[in-house]
């Protein structure tokens, strides 16, 4: 598909290169859980819910975080997905979530408790893993699980000398764009807790490009963090 990525400085969906898509957040979307949240950015929609903290399987075993990442068959932008779970990308993400969140969740508060994180992708229009991380953070806060800080995530890419923020599905899968560069940071300190980049276009990343897209992604994370805090404030004042 040779569609224009940038047309007179505007992207396919009318955004500027440094503009995030519209974010919508809903808490408490799965009643039968300890905490849950729906994170929507543009057309991408990811649901996360938590079961826990709860007793580990064996009595004195130390507690861990388990992540179960599923994608609905109807979530894909084009053709129907072939696998909803168990493929390589999901397994990798589940392992990443475990290490990421075990450093942010204060596990010592509940040493013999497990936390099960369930993620369901309802609609995939790019930057799905980032939306998942944001949804997980919100659902952990909703569940009252003690956290050191927010963990917020945003994606970025590079095209024609310009860094792009928050990529859509067509931008992520385009061979012309250096994508998808995903970063997750701690809300206050902006320290990077997760960084993942899988490129399909065979691009070469120069240090200059890495600097620009990392800065762009962290800038996006800052904005997401601000919006998440605002939404939580609004939800609580009701």
């Amino acid at each position: 598909m040779t569609e224009e990525i940038l047309f007179y400085g505007f992207r396919q969906d009318g955004r500027r290169p440094g503009e995030l898509r519209q974010i919508k957040i809903k808490l408490g979307v799965v009643d039968n859980s300890s905490g849950s949240a729906l994170f929507q950015i543009g057309h991408t929609s990811v649901l996360a819910f938590i079961h826990g903290p709860k007793q580990t399987k064996h009595e004195k075993e130390s507690g861990h975080i388990h992540c179960y990442f599923n994608t609905a068959y109807f979530s894909s932008s084009g053709e129907r997905r072939k696998f909803s779970k168990g493929d390589k990308k999901s397994n990798e993400f589940e392992a990443n979530v475990r290490t990421m969140f075990e450093s942010v969740v204060l596990m010592e508060n509940n040493p013999h408790s497990d936390i099960d994180i369930h993620v369901l992708v309802l609609a995939d229009d790019g930057s799905v893993e980032c939306a998942a991380i944001n949804a997980i953070t919100l659902s952990l806060i909703h569940a009252g699980v003690p956290l050191k800080d927010f963990l917020v995530s945003c994606s970025s890419g590079f095209y024609s000398g310009m860094p792009l923020i928050d990529l859509t599905y067509s931008e992520s899968t385009s061979f012309q764009v250096i994508s998808e560069y995903r970063v997750a940071v701690l809300g206050k300190s902006l320290q990077i807790a997760y960084l993942n980049y899988d490129d399909i276009g065979g691009h070469k990343l120069t240090p200059e490009v890495v600097r620009e897209i990392t800065a762009m992604a962290i800038e996006g994370c800052k904005q997401v963090h601000f919006i998440m805090k605002q939404e939580l404030q609004n939800a609580c004042s009701n």
């Binding site: 799965v30 068959y73 109807f74 979530s75 369901l120």
Partner: protein, 266 residues
């Protein structure tokens, strides 16, 4: 546990259930269409005062038919979150029940594009968000019906060149709706001791002696009956359950368009 079961079954005998309903009334369910922006048709079901229970999304692809003049319908039912072996088995049972009672009667001929060569493959994918969802079969059938109502398919015309035998699919203007006039819905009538009970909650399902799933269409014709659970039934119990199911189906079909369904039989 035993005492909780006794409390529930005594309540059913007295026609006063644990959420205040009588034995022949349902909870109010709300169905919203078009919730998945990336699907041509979708629907979401939730019980009043609860979060969404079931989401159904449909996808269409062009493929090769198995039967000459029919399309292909594929159903999948997934439980969100970690599923144990027992959950997976339960989902497989639910899937086969819905295929037998409902999708069997779906008019597949409308999905044919070029007989023997090209057809629409309709994928119906259901995600269950609540592990303790009760009265699943009935609710899933209603969600699927609403999602199919919502589907917009590209209008196509299949052309085969008589000489070269090449096939073309021409995309016409506008979209077409799927015809679900003949599609039945499924309603479940449960037997607890000697009473027929409708729309069980999760705790009540643990006390049900037997469950009768009726597949009934718009005209009130019973298309199929499947029994679950090991309890035994007398013939007149089955007949009275069938009459109840017919009345329920009539209520459901009249309310389906409004997006809010609640029935109460006397």
């Amino acid at each position: 546990m035993q005492s909780e079961k006794k409390f529930i079954t005594d309540g059913i005998k007295q026609n006063c259930r644990c959420d205040g309903r009588g034995i022949l009334s349902s909870r109010r369910i709300k169905i919203e269409k078009g919730v998945c922006t990336l699907s041509p048709g979708s629907a979401q079901l939730n019980i009043e005062l609860s979060s969404p229970h079931i989401i159904c999304g449909c996808k269409l692809e062009i493929g090769v038919p198995e039967v000459e003049d029919e399309g292909i319908v594929n159903l999948s039912i997934e439980l969100a979150g970690k599923s144990l072996m027992t959950d997976k088995e339960r989902m497989a049972e639910v899937k086969s029940l819905i295929e037998m009672l409902m999708l069997n009667y779906f008019n597949k001929k409308q999905l044919c594009i070029i007989p023997g060569r090209k057809c629409w493959k309709l994928f119906i994918d259901v995600e269950i968000l609540d592990k303790d969802a009760s009265n699943l079969i009935e609710h899933i059938s209603l969600t699927i019906t609403s999602a199919l109502e919502d589907v917009k398919v590209l209008a196509t015309e299949g052309i085969v060149n008589k000489n070269t035998k090449e096939e073309y699919i021409e995309i016409l203007d506008g979209t077409v709706r799927i015809n679900i006039d003949e599609l039945p819905i499924i309603t479940t009538v449960a037997q607890i001791n000697t009473s027929s009970v409708l729309d069980l909650t999760a705790e009540e399902e643990g006390c049900a002696d037997s469950l009768l799933h009726f597949s009934i269409d718009k005209n009130g014709t019973i298309k199929g009956i499947i029994k679950e659970n090991p309890g035994r039934l007398a013939v007149d119990q089955v007949l009275s359950a069938a009459n109840i199911a017919k009345e329920v189906a009539a209520h459901i079909f009249s309310d389906l368009g409004t997006g809010s369904i609640k029935y109460k039989l006397s």
